[in-house]
């Protein structure tokens, strides 16, 4: 179902939510960096650029407490973190590449053991996605089967209109509820002209073909040929909307402190380092291979999905210019049907 909201009414909607005690998270300048962060007022929102990090941190924070401990004598007292205390949130201005990654992450956090830290935030968050009208040369959502108008992962999806307002696609019950709550702000579709969608330049990959090649090329000269230069900084994983590897670390003193779940990256040498000193991924190309394999083969094997939404952040941020889209394009070119 489609409806319309003017630019002014959209801001009124967000400000009403904020004053009503709802946590509104949107792209906002934070210490000079555009990140998805809680808004104090809608005017702080920046919608014309892709934030440095993805929207996944609204569900899976960079670092979060999972328990706290306190020692007294030989006893230890643990305090649980109660996901029920997580705030109801509206996540706004989410690009299609970021929004599409959210349901992809549902698979890993909900199969078998349920990670309530992620899942409770999912339940409590309404996602307002927004179509892209511009793309840069690192964008490649169309190459992985998505598009600048992809609504996957959004509860309400905005398409910018020439007059500054938005065409609103209601994509879920949560989106429907949001529109119902602010019904006076939404109006019927008039004679509006949506802005043309962006068109990323990277040609579409044949993801089946790519996976087929990866199935048979764990050992291949490609890995040394593309990733010897990788410095293992992990930046690609930290900006990625779909990377979800994490570490569990205690931070505190011997007497008291917290246990935290923090983002980690398969590019780090210590990631797979055994206590014995043995490391199954002892060289950087092996670690980079895992990155590609996880995204385009393993996650597909396990959950039937690709773990890349083509946001291009890793391409933009890599200090040594490794371009995942170019590598996958090369694999696509080598793959035999």
């Amino acid at each position: 179902m489609q409806t319309y909201i003017s630019h002014h009414n959209f801001h009124t909607l967000l400000d009403t939510l904020i004053t009503g005690g709802i946590r509104v998270v949107a792209p906002r300048l934070t210490a000079g960096t555009l990140l998805y962060a809680p808004l104090g007022e809608s005017g702080d929102m920046v919608l014309d650029q892709l934030p440095r990090r993805s929207a996944k941190e609204a569900f899976f924070p960079v670092c979060e407490d999972i328990l706290s401990y306190e020692k007294g004598g030989q006893q230890v007292r643990l305090t649980d973190v109660e996901p029920a205390t997580f705030p109801v949130t509206v996540l706004v201005g989410v690009r299609p590449c970021d929004a599409a990654a959210i349901p992809v992450l549902d698979a890993v956090f909900s199969w078998d053991y349920k990670d309530e830290f992620f899942l409770e935030r999912r339940r409590k968050t309404t996602v307002i996605g927004i179509a892209c009208t511009t793309a840069d040369d690192a964008c490649f959502c169309t190459a992985v089967g998505l598009s600048p108008a992809e609504t996957k992962g959004s509860d309400l999806f905005l398409t910018p209109v020439a007059d500054g307002g938005y065409l609103c696609d209601i994509c879920s019950e949560k989106g429907e509820a949001l529109v119902a709550d602010g019904s006076s702000l939404f109006t019927e579709l008039g004679n509006v002209t949506p802005l043309p969608f962006a068109s990323p330049a990277v040609p579409a990959f044949d993801l089946k073909k790519v996976k087929g090649w990866l199935d048979g090329h764990f050992e291949d000269p490609l890995w040394d040929g593309t990733a010897l230069r990788c410095v293992g900084c992990g930046a690609c994983a930290f900006v990625c909307p779909a990377c979800h590897c994490f570490d569990i670390v205690d931070e505190g003193t011997e007497k008291s402190g917290k246990r935290r779940k923090s983002w980690d990256a398969c590019g780090f040498w210590k990631f797979t380092h055994h206590a014995s000193g043995h490391n199954p991924r002892d060289k950087q190309p092996k670690r980079y291979r895992n990155r590609i394999m996880h995204k385009f083969k393993y996650y597909d094997d396990k959950f039937g999905q690709t773990l890349c939404t083509g946001c291009g952040r890793c391409v933009r941020i890599c200090p040594v210019g490794i371009d995942i889209a170019a590598i996958v394009a090369e694999i696509d070119g080598m793959a035999v049907e």
Binding site: D80, W111, E219, C245, D250, G257, H294
Partner: protein, 282 residues
């Protein structure tokens, strides 16, 4: 099994260190008793499963549950102090509190081994993952055929569970072949001298109606599998456990995978056939 009523899957159970045994100068066994009385009764696991052990303030480390499921009321872990968590676990004293999450992972298909001869092959600190199964089988002794244990370490001092090795040696219903690497034997050593794969070849347990269970450093496994093959063991008759680094143990954190296999969920117990089908990433 896991406590599904606990919504925080990362929250450990509190346990008391009931006893500790120094197996070697740097390998220690801790006997742990759950502080929650109900859990003490309820906690069950199968041989081969592992757990995450907490030293609060240092973090968690992954080890197998080294005691047998047939020994109720406590669990044991056995570890070498090599990192921050294990150094802290080593500083614990009897009566101190630590944490345990688990049990996790698959297990040895014990029931499929009924009526068969069992050949255990272990090296160094890799005896604990088999020791749980060895005692499990010894406690159900009449269900199995011949039991052979080939166990070796670099030196006499590096052998773990020395008192149990003596017990197995005394028993008439177990064949224990213990060995140390050349140069690792003292003047009173009463076992073999040689590397585990060689000694296994010499001991030559029959493959017919047998299962081999192999645990050791990657290099030992690499040289042991061909020996078993020569003895006539098929890849389906050989089991091992993989020990990749883990954090969550729950199939989320993403580091223990060997190709598309999650060791924490699909393993840690695999047949040699399964292992041979995996990429070299362990």
């Amino acid at each position: 099994m896991c406590d599904l009523t606990n919504r925080n899957i990362y929250l450990p159970h509190l346990v008391t260190v009931a006893d500790m045994i120094d197996e070697t100068p740097d390998v220690r066994t801790l006997r742990l008793v759950f502080q929650d009385e109900q859990l003490r009764e309820k906690f069950t696991f199968r041989a081969g499963q592992f757990a995450e052990y907490s030293s609060f303030g240092a973090g968690e480390a992954t080890f197998c549950i080294a005691s047998s499921p047939t020994h109720a009321g406590y669990i044991e872990c056995c570890f070498r102090s090599v990192g921050r968590v294990t150094e802290e676990l080593r500083r614990l004293e009897v009566g101190d509190t630590m944490g345990v999450r688990g049990p996790y992972g698959n297990s040895f298909p014990l029931e499929e081994f009924y009526g068969k001869n069992l050949v255990f092959v272990a090296g160094g600190i890799a005896l604990p993952p088999l020791r749980t199964l060895i005692w499990n089988c010894l406690d159900l002794r009449e269900r199995f055929g011949d039991i052979t244990i080939v166990y070796g370490a670099r030196t006499e001092s590096d052998l773990v569970y020395k008192r149990e090795l003596a017990e197995w040696q005394e028993r008439g219903d177990v064949r224990l072949v213990k060995t140390v690497d050349p140069g690792g034997n003292g003047p009173h050593w009463d076992g073999q001298v040689g590397f585990v794969p060689t000694i296994l070849g010499e001991a030559a347990p029959a493959a017919e109606n047998s299962i081999a269970l192999v645990c050791g450093p990657p290099i030992m496994i690499k040289f042991t599998l061909p020996v078993l093959e020569t003895l006539g063991f098929s890849d389906d008759q050989v089991y091992t456990t993989l020990e990749n680094r883990m954090k969550c143990g729950l199939g989320k954190c993403g580091r223990c995978n060997v190709g598309n296999v999650y060791v924490c969920k699909d393993g840690p117990v695999f047949t040699a056939r399964q292992v041979k089908g995996m990429p070299m990433e362990f």
